[in-house]
Symmetry: D3
Subunit: 137 residues, 6 copies
């Protein structure tokens, strides 16, 4: 079993808030992340897949194919977008890093499997000092 | 003459567009940076000042004081904010990195001077692959 | 189960030595790290906690609270300090990275638990080329 | 149980190809990595070992000794070399990152064990956006 | 006057040697960089241009256009190539970082000018510890 | 004219204080950097030299020689040392980054010149957020 990781990135706007909270309550719970005028990040995304090395190619998976899957299903939907209002797979979810990592996992699990590897970890940096990791359960 | 640099950062949303352009024209000129729903960045800001070393302290300037000035006049106004709609010193300016660096210079020039140093350079990273530098003229 | 990590840092002096060794023996075992006049590092500390996402907030834990705990119990006691002589939770322990990571774990385990998450890993960089990880047993 | 990691690096040339493939087939499977005139990388290597802390020294393993082992058995054989034609432990293997990480593991497993620790992970960056990890099985 | 920088990268093989030197002399002058079987690097390239901000767009130059120029004239010719034998603009030149930076400058000076900016600096990292800068004379 | 830079590093302890100040005054002026028990840093040092490319070698200067000079005259005297009490060229000087950069310049200027290049800049990072640059006057 070997693990291979591809790093991608996207720049997006977001806001942490609940529509059923007052502005004061949103500010109390989410702090400045609740700013109604949005803020944003350069997100760094590390996708790790695992599996066996193909003796014919020396590859677990062709990284170009892995990168193509991540870009089509995740990066193209998030880059230069507003996570709260424009991203189909985040509809109805709070735009926290935790929820975003889980949603990215759901986007990638089956396509990575179809490409012959197994999704192992989605690691998402919101800033260089804060990141989340999700392993699928 | 010695140069000393302090790095600060802020996370903000922005959009590149002109109100007097059509959506199509904005898209043509500014690409996906014109997204009406905003996007955002983790901006990294490097402020360089120059001057003589004070033989009493070994300092050009006390970095705590420099950091305090940058935070009060720049970072607190930009962090978790929308550059286009909430930042007084960017009112009426296109929210490009170039204009933002120049505006930050204008905020800092006099206060840095009052603190006993001379502002030398404002360097602003929008992403790790794109940055601007402004030296005051 | 999701994992979230917060990065903090501190600058400290330390020395590797045993009082019951001669200077020659200390030099032989600990090399230049045994310098009696101390040396120091910019330590980078990554604290990872795990748990379930709160559906109300989208958070595993509020990162501001996690950062507050780490700063109060670890960073404030180590930053600009001498690990060997000033840090209560390192008293009587060799100031190696291994021992420091374990001691930091002991400081954080209960408070992180009280804050509603589970401490998963303490990762400590002494330099960018050397780091230790401790998972609690 | 504690984990300690040492980072080393080497610069090498390589090529992905199979002698039993035509040039067209190599290009189709391996893309520009199959260039017959070679290309190269600044490889970053992270070797993680695990074990118990020696109460006498506060060390899991002396990092100087770990570094010496990695340099003698791995770095000196790869640095400023051609992975395909000059590296004894890669003879007859496709020079992929996956195979290189596995081969490095095989080089290090016994010597690390003889030095009193247990090899835990070989992590190899081919570029800052692509890396593999191998845990020994 | 404002300065804007775009970072690009390429992976390439090279060798430092003179055909009119013996192998011994090449080894003496160029060390392990003279290895006849090549070695390689992940080169990081920073191209800085300068000029005035266009009040209409807030841009000095459209970074997409600058990136397109650098990729077409420099990166596409170097990436996954052998600097000594495959790069037209390096023909007949020693493949040192110094010469490579100067040759990249020559490739970019006129096209950057035609795009409305002025080439200011070509900065080329061979490794993270060695880099050269060229300002055009 | 071309510029080439070599990065080196050292880990050291230091303290900012004046013997002719009271403890209170030292604390007021130098803050926690005045801690009598010392603290320390992983210093990163970038030395930039300039000159003409030798057409015979393609080099401005052999980087191995530049590295040897920096290590012998600067790094070996500072690494795992106490800047205030053990470094000959810092005797009688406040151990600020500003003074350290200037002292490093004085150590390197003549030897770099003797090696056929001209010292251009000493850039010293005390932390990743604070650095000084000195150009010789």
């Amino acid at each position: 079993m070997i693990y291979i990781t591809r790093k991608e990135h996207f720049n997006a706007a977001h806001r942490l808030f609940r529509a059923d909270y007052s502005d004061e309550k949103n500010l109390e719970v989410f702090g400045k992340c609740s700013n109604p005028n949005w803020h944003g990040h350069n997100y760094e995304l590390f996708v790790t897949v695992k599996g066996k090395v193909d003796p014919e190619t020396g590859f677990l998976i062709n990284l170009k194919e892995l990168s193509r899957i991540i870009n089509k299903l995740v990066v193209d939907k998030l880059d230069h977008k507003n996570v709260n209002v424009e991203v189909d797979f985040m509809a109805g979810r709070l735009a926290s890093s935790e929820n975003l990592a889980i949603a990215i996992w759901e986007q990638l699990e089956k396509p990575v499997n179809d490409a012959g590897a197994q999704l192992h970890c989605v690691k998402l940096f919101e800033t260089e000092r804060n990141f989340v990791e999700y392993y699928g359960n």
